[in-house]
Amino acid sequence: GLEETFCSLRLRENIGDPSRADVFTPQAGRVSTVNSFNLPILGHLQLSAERGTLYRSAIYTPHWNVNAHSVIYVLRGRARIQVVDHLGQSFFDGEVRQGQILTVPQNHAVVKQAGSEGFEWVSFKTNDNAWISPLAGRTSVIRALPEAVLANAFQISRDQARRLKYNREETFLLTSSSSRREDESERRAAA
């Protein structure tokens, strides 16, 4: 009966095709994920992967990998990546470029900002259903906390807490003010 199970398992899934994107923000970029839900053999391997594209200066929200390590391979462009440990110390703060690999350990906080030519990467994750916990944006931990907890924890006013929670409506691909400014000036120049 092996041919009914292992022998016929699907082994391939394309995550490079932009039209297959799972997350897409026209101004910031896109992300596609392959995990044991859309490629079941990954359940046996306990691995998954993510393919991402960030447009110029766009930001992949600060987040931590809840249940996996993430090994990032840079496909194209450059990005500034910061990784922070449990003591709030910068573990890595530098630019990564095409052909380089960076490992982000489980639970360590990380943020990516694309350089001027954009940034493309593939991340290998050591869990077949890897998930992240965003720190900013619509599905973030900050948004899920009560205002009163934020106000007391950060010693800020309720208004500031509200802005902290709601000033970003995107899920995790964020535009930056610098890229918005550059786009506007380019549009003006073209006009």
Partner: protein
């Protein structure tokens, strides 16, 4: 895997067991966190670490997550706690009706993820990497014991328990033991809570490690808010005293629990009054 299990079997080969007192004590503004040295043979054998926290009334244990799953037992007192599951909706919310006509951000009402009421005897399970916070809303100390399962398959880091704080500049309760080889000792809190001694540079929340300009962009907020987010000049440590009371969107506790403490009628009355107040404010409910 076989090497790993051999190593673990070896770590369980010790001559005798001991009853252990906590080795480390961190004093915060509104409470204390004590921890047992996770490097002790017994804990190494079991693949666990243990802490005990005492939170004063109106104290808030700042949001944090750990690299291990946790089981927390409430020894004494009562509390409200929130666990943050990434991607889940904020299901505790003030209704749109109460907002009146205002739809601007200034008048936006609060919404957040589900809260849980805890009382003596409760066990709370927190998955690895899931953030949680805890507020003592009772009138006595809240004492809880937490077991961190470092050998759990959900922890892909090493065997060291780690706590990642999302606010303040709190100490990781195990870090000092790791650095100093785990000698038992009692310490006072850092800076204001430690008589101005010691360095605050080693302990920060995770926002502190990010570039502040990048955080301004990511959250779309001003410099001052980011400074606060990073906990700069915050010396309250991990358990802080809440100003006033914590104003949360939360249902009253269950009838059974209220009755047990003889407070059901009082709460029902409060609920009725609140309902009447809402009716007066909103002009009553509309019929279909």
């Amino acid at each position: 895997r076989s090497q790993e299990s051999f190593r673990q079997r070896n770590e369980c080969q010790f001559d005798r067991l001991q009853a252990l007192e906590p080795d480390n004590r961190i004093q915060a503004e509104a409470g204390v966190i004590e921890s047992w040295n996770p490097n002790h043979d017994q804990f190494q054998c079991a693949g666990v670490a243990v802490t005990r926290s005492t939170i004063e009334p109106n104290g808030l244990h700042l949001p944090s997550y750990t690299n291990t799953p946790q089981l927390i037992y409430i020894v004494k007192g009562r509390a409200i706690t929130g666990t943050i599951f990434p991607g889940c909706p904020e299901t505790f919310e003030e209704s749109q009706r109460e907002q009146g006509q205002g739809r601007s951000q200034g008048s936006r009402k609060d919404r957040h993820q589900r809260l849980h009421h805890l009382r003596e005897g409760d066990i709370l399970a927190i998955p690895a990497g899931v953030a949680y916070w805890c507020y003592n809303n009772g009138d006595q100390q809240l004492v809880s014991v937490s077991l961190l399962d470092t050998s759990n398959f959900n922890n892909q880091l090493d065997d060291n328990p780690r706590r990642f704080y999302l606010a303040g500049n709190p100490e990781d309760e195990f870090e000092q033991l790791r650095r100093e080889g785990g000698r038992g000792r009692e310490r006072e809190g850092r800076q204001a809570w430690r008589g101005g001694q010691g360095s605050s540079e080693d302990y920060n929340n995770i926002f502190r490690g990010f570039n502040s300009r990048l955080l301004e962009e990511a959250f779309n907020v001003d410099q001052e808010t980011v400074r606060r987010l990073q906990g700069q000049s915050d010396n309250r440590n991990s358990i802080i005293r809440v100003k006033g009371r914590l104003d949360l969107v939360s249902p009253l506790r269950s009838r059974q629990e209220g009755q047990r403490e003889g407070r059901w009628e009082e709460e029902r009355e409060r609920e009725r009054e609140e309902e009447q107040r809402r009716m007066r404010r909103g002009g009553g409910y509309d019929a279909n």
